[in-house]
């Protein structure tokens, strides 16, 4: 029983990262119709940002958690303005190649500086563990889970209860009708892209104290995240978050009971979902 709960908890912690990344991908896809293949690289840049900030200025975790996502979100808005925007009118394949290329360039630039080895980052807060009766919870992991759940909830509230959220939801679903209302959807594209990138960077900073910080960390994670997004429904914020946490749990529990399947279970689930509901669990069929 204890090992079950322990693994379920670990699963929720992995799910926290999946959810944050999938959430960013979902809002970006919804607003821009672009699948951002650089998302994993931006997560990696977030983790390296924390390492570099500590190495060069000595600033610790909390500063990194604030500054790195902001800096990368800003970089993201430039990326959208200068490159992605130029390709949106063309076949989606062009932005696929562009963002994929950006990911490779980021990875190799960092490899030139840091090599392929993992970088230590020992500035994480909340070291040690806490006893909640069932087993010892590592305190930092509890913090990560709390941050992720809070952020996902905050984004959901933002989307459902504010005017900007209504506009983003409207522009996601029916861009032409929203524009016929006299709302300039174009001016929300850049901020939304920057926001999604900021979430990926924040996930990267959160990962730095507990995961190996190396140039491959983004590409390892993002493959699962794409499966998460497909299962949840491309563009569905709610579906992405729910699928993120569910798949984190599924993988962790799979590790415990059916180790053989732990790596493939995600893709099996994805295949089943695609067969039954091609648009994903919470996705909508594209209107004709």
């Amino acid at each position: 029983m204890t090992s079950f709960l322990q693994q379920a908890f670990n699963g929720l912690v992995s799910g926290s990262f999946y959810a944050l990344l999938a959430l960013g991908l979902a809002v970006i896809f919804g607003m821009l119709r672009v699948v951002n293949f650089a998302h994993g690289a931006l997560y990696m840049l977030g983790a390296f940002g924390a390492v570099a900030l500590a190495d060069t200025t000595g600033l610790g975790f909390w500063w990194a958690l604030l500054l790195v996502p902001l800096a990368l979100a800003l970089t993201g808005t430039l990326l959208e303005r200068l490159l992605i925007r130029r390709l949106t009118a063309l076949d989606p394949l062009y932005n696929f190649l562009l963002t994929f290329g950006i990911a490779l360039v980021c990875q190799d630039l960092l490899r030139m500086k840091y090599g392929a080895h993992s970088q230590p980052y020992e500035r994480g807060p909340f070291t040690g563990s806490m006893d909640l009766g069932l087993f010892d919870f590592p305190r930092y992991q509890v913090f990560v889970l709390a941050v992720s759940v809070t952020l996902c909830l905050a984004v959901w509230l933002l989307l459902t209860h504010t005017r900007i959220g209504t506009i983003v939801r409207a522009a996601t679903e029916r861009p032409e009708l929203t524009r016929a209302f006299g709302i300039d959807t174009g001016r929300w594209v850049t901020p939304v892209f920057g926001f999604g990138v900021g979430l990926a960077a924040l996930a990267g900073v959160l990962a730095a104290p507990m995961r190996a910080v190396n140039t491959g960390m983004g590409s390892d994670l993002i493959i699962t995240v794409f499966a998460v997004v497909v299962i949840g429904g491309l563009g569905s914020v709610f579906g992405s978050v729910l699928a993120g946490f569910t798949i984190g749990m599924l993988q962790a529990l799979g590790n415990l009971y059916v180790p053989v399947l732990s790596q493939t279970s995600v893709y099996l689930l994805m295949a089943v979902v695609l067969l039954v509901r091609p648009a994903g669990l919470f996705g909508k069929e594209e209107p004709a």
């Binding site: 209860h161 504010t162 005017r163 900007i164 679903e173 032409e176 009708l177 006299g182 709302i183």
Partner: protein, 252 residues
């Protein structure tokens, strides 16, 4: 009699899609305060013309003037801001939003809210009363809190009319307002359009000739992207060219 002012004018308006001329040198003049119908067989370029007028397509050649402003090639949100509202041929609503939320969104887009994007629901609630009024006008008051995706077809179209009205436009463009409707819904829509034309100009694409007959002051018949005939309904109806091109199938 005083000649009414032309509120919408196109000159030599053309749209070419890779060698195919969907709209070809159309000169249109819509008099203020009238209902102007665009008719013509499928593929005559009616919807393309609508998309040009509302900025969803950019013309290959020609000019569009609305109320003295040159709106040629302007983006849709700009044209909507000048007082042009449109409905869509295919129902295009937000599946999850309720009827009331739709109207609230349309209402607040026209107000001076400007950049206050962080305001919460309470702000939208301010429009609730007016939204319910508009829904009442189109006979949807009792369905205000139903998600649009769950409304039957005829009521979706009615909701679209309420949306167009929420923008309180000087010029209302209706793309086939009665398409796919049963007789009862058609009668209700005709009565509704007759009611909302008060104080505005309406341009509508419509296939149903009895609807055109009971609403339109002026009819423009399009064929293969060109204006074939223009005039009052009774004259257009009996024009031999129109009978051949458009009504031919029905008469024969």
């Amino acid at each position: 009699m005083r000649q009414p002012r032309a509120i919408l004018v196109t000159q030599g308006l053309s749209k070419e899609f890779q060698g195919f001329r969907a709209v070809s040198a159309v000169d249109l003049s819509v008099a203020e305060g009238t209902v102007h119908a665009l008719v013509g067989p499928n593929g005559a370029g009616k919807t393309t013309l609508f998309n040009l007028l509302t900025g969803f397509l950019k013309p290959t050649a020609g000019r569009i003037t609305f109320d003295g402003h040159d709106i040629t090639g302007q983006p849709p949100e700009r044209i909507a801001g000048l007082g042009v509202a449109r409905s869509f041929q295919v129902t295009s609503l937000f599946e999850q939003m309720t009827a009331r939320e739709h109207v609230e969104l349309a209402l607040q887009s026209g107000t001076g809210l400007g950049r206050r994007f962080w305001r919460t629901d309470t702000l939208m609630r301010r429009f609730s009363g007016r939204a319910l009024e508009l829904l009442g006008d189109v006979g949807l008051a009792h369905l205000a809190d139903r998600p649009a995706g769950h409304l039957p077809y005829g009521q979706k179209r009615a909701l679209e009319l309420a949306l167009a009205l929420a923008l309180d436009p000087a010029l209302l463009l209706l793309d086939e307002p009665t398409a796919g409707m049963g007789l009862e819904d058609i009668d209700r829509t005709v009565a509704l359009v007759d009611q909302i034309r008060e104080g505005r100009t309406v341009v509508m694409v419509e296939h149903n000739m009895s609807v055109v007959g009971s609403l339109a002051d002026t009819v423009t018949v399009l064929q293969r992207g060109e204006v074939l005939v223009e005039g009052p309904y009774d004259r257009v109806k009996t024009d031999p060219r129109v009978v051949e091109a458009y009504l031919g199938a029905d008469v024969a």
